[in-house]
């Protein structure tokens, strides 16, 4: 046995492409050659030798295969071990680097955390609205909402509510669907006495349980037999949160009774914890749809009962296609059934618009309501904010990339040396990426913390109705955060990676660590300009939304929303005649006026942003009044104008002296006066309500316009009549207090509740609460754009500062020479600050261009604000330049005061 001339370890020889079969063949070949040589030497013939060698060896093929298998396993294992050791080496290296510069690490972590946190926050809001299918849905891919598009006056409208009869028609006349579900969420009074509270109860057809094939937590679900026309069984499957919070999570609740609406329900089951149904939040429970109908509608005789009427549109429809049926095929099927149903409807209601003119189009839209045709402004703004959050992330990444690049530049010599010593570029890249990945991971952790806090704040403003899940327990959220983290790591790592790939070995090795870096910072300047430009875009967005919000708030409403409370009566099955209801309301008005802190009270028919009452109008000399707009009736008692704070601009207000029997009077709004009698004095004009044959009603006053249906372009066509002369709409009263309504509303409700007979109860809402949702999208846009824009500006200015400071450090020697040669403080300041301002100027120009480009798409979301407002654009530009000045001043100051002796000696 001789020592070998030289050893080379196997995996060193042909690392990367170890050919196991060849190695095995070589080894065995060697063995056979040696054996045969030995036998030949012993005097055997070649034939005998070969046979003997094979005999000694045994089954050659079997062994060969065995060896190949073992070899392959070993090679894979070695590679994996090698990869891991490389990985852990990189990781240790990166960790050591980060520990050595804690300031940098924390800065990057915060920057990336803000970027990732912003995105995680927006994702947690948008996901349930647009992407996530409701939990427990058996076949999410097969389930759609049913929308009906119709044309009216050249515009297309999308309907999502249908009559029970349409529901039956569609279920019967289609063949593409495995399941048709009708549902109706509704707020009903739940409980008795002081415990009574309005809660959302969802009526669902029994087919709902096919769509959501769940096993109840307790008890059972209801069947089609219990959801029968006309009267369903009064049974309820309560939701898990209600069971936990209101029923103590006890297991003996089955069979207990609950007073819901005007009916008595028996609890038959508890739904599983995460069964929410087709909306965004848990209802208090699920009841049969037909029982919900009984609870909600009176029997008004043939053709007007819920199950044979086409005009009561209260249901939302969801359909599950049969497996294998395409959306297109199912839509075609649905379309013909829908047309058939519409034909039936017009046969029953002669005189309705011809079907052809409506151009009806049945649609199968996504199960997420907000992803369908009727998405809310909040969702639209939310979608914009997703884009904004992405910009913030890009800015954060540009900044971190810049910092990493600075680090890499500082290590140029080290990197060049390592390359020269034979480290592959791939290995170096892996190391750089490990570092940025580690930073991104830290950032993502911080970002998730931010999202779990910020998410609840934003969600509260954007979608107060949506149910919040935990950020850390939601796998989709975590997956999204991980994805964002990877993207961020790649984005941040790109710049330093480019530098490593293009590294010029000889140059870097020859030069000092300082020189060269300066010339190479073009990439850094580019990143900085991008950051600046994006900040400009975001700040312009912020300014536009803030301005919109200001405009919205400054809108004259025509009433004092802050001081007025709307008190509504709910009879809950207590039988009262119309006259009794009117008397009850009068008593409430009287009682309210006696309460301390109450200024005035009045009965009302229409409530702004809540409900409108309309009657046909007839005016002598005008052919068709309805062609001039939608006129809204407001029948009130004498204190109305004082209660609301609506000013009378001409003539007189209504008073309690305007009674049945006295002269018939009315007050019109300014815009109604303009619409009906342009250029004329409206006082004394004649208007007839409901029928042309009725006597004239004289206009005695003109009131200022009010906003009732839209804050932006409300025509404000209102007319006011004394309720004693036109008794309609016995729903509620307005109460004006001297203190803000938010503080007084509940006290008023309590005080007045004493007047209510039987099960009847009151609800009280500050008028401002009814208007709040109208403002929400602008509020949200203003807040979020400002927050994100501020973040972006902060990050960008830190970036600017660090780049300038770095550049100054790079040019220390050069600047030192200048100072030594007599350059004044002023000229050095100019030199450095001028550099920064040039960068900022380019950034501002690009940013303004971007903002103008985006203007077309933001415009519809704004309110009385032009997206090209020169004041806003100019202001933002000035702000950014100022920030640039501030960020570059400190390093410039330092540069101007360099001690030339030190600077020159230090190289």
């Amino acid at each position: 046995m001789t020592m070998l001339p030289r050893f080379r370890r196997l995996f060193r020889i042909d690392r990367g492409a170890v050919d196991v079969p060849v190695a095995v063949a070589d080894e065995l070949q060697f063995h056979f050659d040696m054996t045969i040589d030995e036998l030949l030497a012993a005097g055997k013939s070649r034939e005998e030798a070969t046979r003997e060698a094979h005999r000694r060896f045994g089954d050659l093929e079997q062994t060969r295969l065995g060896l190949q298998h073992i070899g392959r396993v070993r090679v894979t294992r070695e590679r994996r071990a090698q990869w891991w050791s490389g990985m852990s080496q990189d990781l240790r290296y990166a960790l050591r680097g980060l520990r050595l510069s804690p300031g940098f690490t924390i800065g990057v972590m915060l920057t990336l955390g803000l970027g990732i946190g912003a995105n995680a926050t927006m994702f947690s809001i948008i996901d349930p609205l647009l992407f996530r299918a409701p939990s427990h849905l058996a076949h999410p891919d097969l389930v759609n909402r049913v929308h009906l598009a119709t044309q009216y006056q050249g515009k297309e409208f999308f309907r999502a509510n249908y009559s029970y009869r349409t529901f039956l028609d569609l279920s019967r006349d289609t063949h593409s669907f495995a399941d048709f579900v009708g549902y109706w969420p509704r707020n009903l009074a739940v409980g008795d006495g002081t415990e009574t509270q309005e809660r959302r109860v969802t009526g669902v057809s029994a087919s709902f349980w096919q769509l959501f094939p769940v096993r109840p937590e307790l008890g059972r679900l209801f069947s089609a037999q219990e959801d029968k026309v006309p009267f369903g069984e009064n049974v309820i499957v309560v939701s898990w949160p209600y069971w936990q919070s209101q029923l103590g999570g006890r297991r003996d609740v089955l069979g207990q009774h609950l007073h819901i609406g005007k009916l008595d329900y028996t609890i038959i089951g508890v739904a599983p914890r995460d069964l929410i149904g087709l909306e965004l939040t848990h209802p208090m429970g699920f009841v049969p749809l037909t029982s919900m109908a009984t609870n909600s509608f009176e029997d008004r005789g043939a053709g007007r009962r819920y199950y044979d009427s086409y005009s009561m549109n209260w249901l939302q429809l969801v359909a599950e296609r049969k497996p294998g049926v395409s959306v297109a095929a199912a839509t075609a099927d649905l379309q013909q059934a829908m047309i058939r149903s519409l034909e039936q409807k017009s046969a029953l209601q002669p005189g309705s618009d011809p079907i052809a003119s409506l151009k009806p189009r049945a649609m199968l839209s996504p199960i997420q309501f907000e992803a369908g045709p009727n998405r809310s402004t909040a969702t639209k703004v939310g979608t914009w904010l997703v884009g904004v959050a992405l910009l913030v992330l890009v800015i954060a990444c540009a900044n971190v990339g810049n910092l990493l690049l600075a680090r890499a530049l500082r290590r140029r010599r080290e990197i060049a040396l390592r390359l020269a010593l034979g480290v592959t570029r791939g290995r170096l890249l892996a190391q750089l990426l490990t570092e940025s990945l580690l930073l991104a991971t830290l950032g993502a952790g911080f970002g998730l913390l931010l999202a779990s806090w910020g998410g609840s704040v934003v969600r509260h403003t954007l979608t107060p109705d949506a149910e919040a899940g935990g950020v850390f327990s939601d796998p989709r959220m975590l997956a999204f955060a991980a994805l964002t983290m990877l993207v961020a790591a790649l984005l941040c790592g790109v710049a330093p990676a480019v530098m490593v790939l293009r590294a010029d070995l000889a140059g870097a090795l020859k030069s000092g660590s300082r020189e060269g870096g300066y010339h190479r910072s073009r990439l850094r300047v580019g990143l900085l300009v991008v950051q600046g430009a994006l900040s400009v875009v975001l700040l312009v967005g912020a300014a536009l939304f803030v301005s919109s919000l200001r405009q919205v708030r400054a809108q004259p409403l025509g009433y004092d929303a802050d001081k007025v409370t709307y008190v509504e009566q709910n009879l809950r099955g207590t039988a009262l005649t119309d006259d009794q209801r009117y008397l009850l309301l009068d008593r409430l008005v009287q009682r309210a006026q006696e309460l301390p802190g109450v200024v005035a009270a009045s009965r009302t028919t229409s409530v702004p942003f809540y409900m409108d009452w309309g009657e046909p109008l007839f005016v002598p000399g005008i052919d068709s009044v309805s062609k001039r707009g939608d006129f809204v009736l407001q029948a009130v008692t004498g204190g109305y104008f004082r209660t609301m704070g609506t000013r009378i601009v001409q003539g007189r207000a209504l008073s309690d002296a305007d009674r049945a029997g006295t002269e018939m009077v009315m007050v019109v709004s300014q815009s109604m006066a303009r619409a009906l009698w342009p250029g004329e004095n409206p006082i004394g004009k004649c208007v007839k309500i409901a029928a042309d044959t009725l006597p004239c009603r004289g206009v005695v006053g003109v009131a200022e316009d009010i906003k009732r249906g839209s804050l932006s372009d409300d025509p404000g066509l209102m007319y006011y009549v004394p309720i004693l002369q036109y008794p309609v709409g016995a729903f509620g009263i307005f109460v004006r207090t001297s203190a803000p309504a938010t503080e007084t509303a509940d006290g008023i409700r309590r005080a007045l509740q004493a007047e209510m007979p039987g099960n009847a109860y009151l609800t009280a809402q500050p008028l401002a609460d009814l208007i709040a949702p109208e403002m929400r999208s602008w509020e949200l846009g203003a807040t979020m754009f400002t927050v994100f824009g501020g973040l972006a500006l902060l990050v960008a200015s830190i970036g600017l500062y660090s780049v300038i400071a770095y550049t100054v450090a790079q040019r220390r020697q050069e600047l030192g020479v200048r100072v030594a040669l007599g350059a004044s403080v002023r000229s050095v300041l100019q030199l450095v600050v001028g550099d920064a301002m040039r960068m900022m100027a380019i950034a501002v120009a690009l940013g303004i261009a971007g903002a103008l480009l985006a203007a077309r798409w933001v415009a519809p979301l704004l309110f009385h604000t032009s997206p090209r407002d020169p004041l806003i654009l100019g202001g933002v530009a000035a702000a950014l330049l100022l920030v640039g000045l501030a960020a570059s001043f400190a390093p410039a100051w330092r540069a101007a005061h360099i001690d030339p002796a030190t600077a020159l000696r230090s190289e």
Binding site: M1, L4, F30, T35, R56, I70, R74
Partner: protein, 108 residues
Amino acid sequence: MADLDLLQGTLDLIILKALIWGPSHGYAVARWVADTTGDDLQVEEGALYTALHRMEKRGWIAAEWGLSENNRKAKYYQLTSTGRNQLHTKTEMWNRYARAVGRVLQTS
């Protein structure tokens, strides 16, 4: 004497022992085994190679390609420190086992 079936692990022990004098290729190991055991143990060379590769996978021995006595490329095996430890414990175990079995057979 009839062929002895090799007890589980015995072949490993023999190979480890064969490598104790330094790196060696498979053919040399086979020769050594055949020479040392004479005709008492009939070891199929195929099984021997399988054992070599298995122990390489386990990290008891390391393999390297080198040049043989007659200047040919050959795969050389040598003990690793794990392999050396294995050899010690296995030898110990084998001796105890053999003594025990021997005692049992003598008492009859």
